[in-house]
């Protein structure tokens, strides 16, 4: 089973990387860019009986390791 975890900075938390990318896009002549945020995506190939079990497992991983709730939000997607 494949889980895709997307981890982004909580809204309100400064995202220096996103800001710098926004700036660089502007310098390259791209217009109409209002906001850029950067996050991480972690793809996990794992054995699990079914999507529900997989999701619970990955949620546990997020809580224990992958994300820090103080500054980050995460979302999980499971595919076969």
């Amino acid at each position: 089973m494949k889980a895709t975890v997307t981890i982004t900075l909580k809204s309100g938390v400064l995202d220096p990387q996103g800001k710098a990318i926004e700036h660089a896009l502007g310098a390259l002549g791209f217009q109409g860019v209002n906001d850029v945020r950067q996050g991480k995506v972690i793809e996990i190939d794992l054995d699990a009986a079914d999507p529900t079990t997989a999701e619970a497992l990955v949620k546990d991983m997020c809580g224990k390791l992958l994300a820090n709730p103080v500054i980050e939000d995460y979302s999980i997607e499971i595919s076969a």
Binding site: Q17, A20, I21, A24, A27, Q38
Partner: protein
């Protein structure tokens, strides 16, 4: 030797390299702010180390795709010598002046230490003061120095004798133990096809004064001073 040192927002080793250039050539280098419209007429353009644009997105990506680097590319095509050190090397690969890419160090840590290298070839304007196979000690200070290119590119670099420096162990043997960051084939510094552009991760500029604990880096700047008088 007339040298220009390009400064991007976030560049931070420009002082170090300007001093090294002066120690070797007796002449002061000129700093060029990335936003200045024209590149001065010089014999050597240096892209120094640092964290241009914070190393955000990818090291060297934003500087590498900036207008001033397009101008540097033109100069390089016209034969001007270009030296990129550390972040400068990353920028030169992003600009396309050199092949490959510098990835995150294999051990996932920033690494600052004195590294042993071997001079793979002294047949370049950047390394003529060294002898082939010479063991030198240069400091390294990087988080993304892990050189990667596909096998065809690597074979070509080696076939054309374009690898100038490789990481080695303390005895000067090129092996896995000496490969501090996981670089393919222990590559620490390479030339472009025309051999007028050198990119390297280690910092020869921080080994140009006895007070720095070694002067092995002086040879590189002396080599340049020699050809560029």
């Amino acid at each position: 030797m007339r040298a220009a040192v390009i400064v991007f927002p976030g560049t931070n080793r420009e002082k170090d390299i300007a001093e090294a250039l002066e120690r070797a050539s007796g002449k002061k280098a000129q700093f060029v702010w990335h936003g200045d419209s024209d590149l001065p007429d010089v014999d050597l353009i240096v892209v120094p180390g640092g964290f241009s644009y914070g190393d955000y997105l990818r090291c060297g990506a934003m500087a590498g795709n900036s207008p001033v680097m397009r101008a540097v590319k033109q100069k390089a095509d016209a034969g001007v010598r270009v030296l990129g050190v550390c972040n400068g090397f990353q920028i030169l690969t992003e600009t396309g002046l050199l092949p490959g890419v510098l990835m995150r160090n294999a051990q996932l840590k920033f690494i600052c230490k004195k590294a042993t290298l071997t001079v793979q070839n002294s047949d370049s304007d950047f390394s003529s003061a060294y002898s082939e196979g010479q063991r030198v000690v240069f400091p390294v200070a990087h988080n993304e120095g892990n050189y990667f290119a596909d096998d065809a590119t690597l074979d070509r670099l080696e076939g054309e004798d374009r690898v100038v420096f490789r990481y080695a162990d303390a005895d000067g043997t090129v092996n896995k133990a000496g490969n501090i960051n996981g670089s393919q084939r222990n590559i620490a510094g390479i030339l472009n096809e025309k051999r007028n552009v050198l990119g390297m991760m280690p910092h020869p500029e921080n080994a140009t004064d006895p007070a720095q604990g070694g002067t092995d880096g002086l040879g590189l700047f002396k080599s340049l001073a020699e050809v560029l008088q």
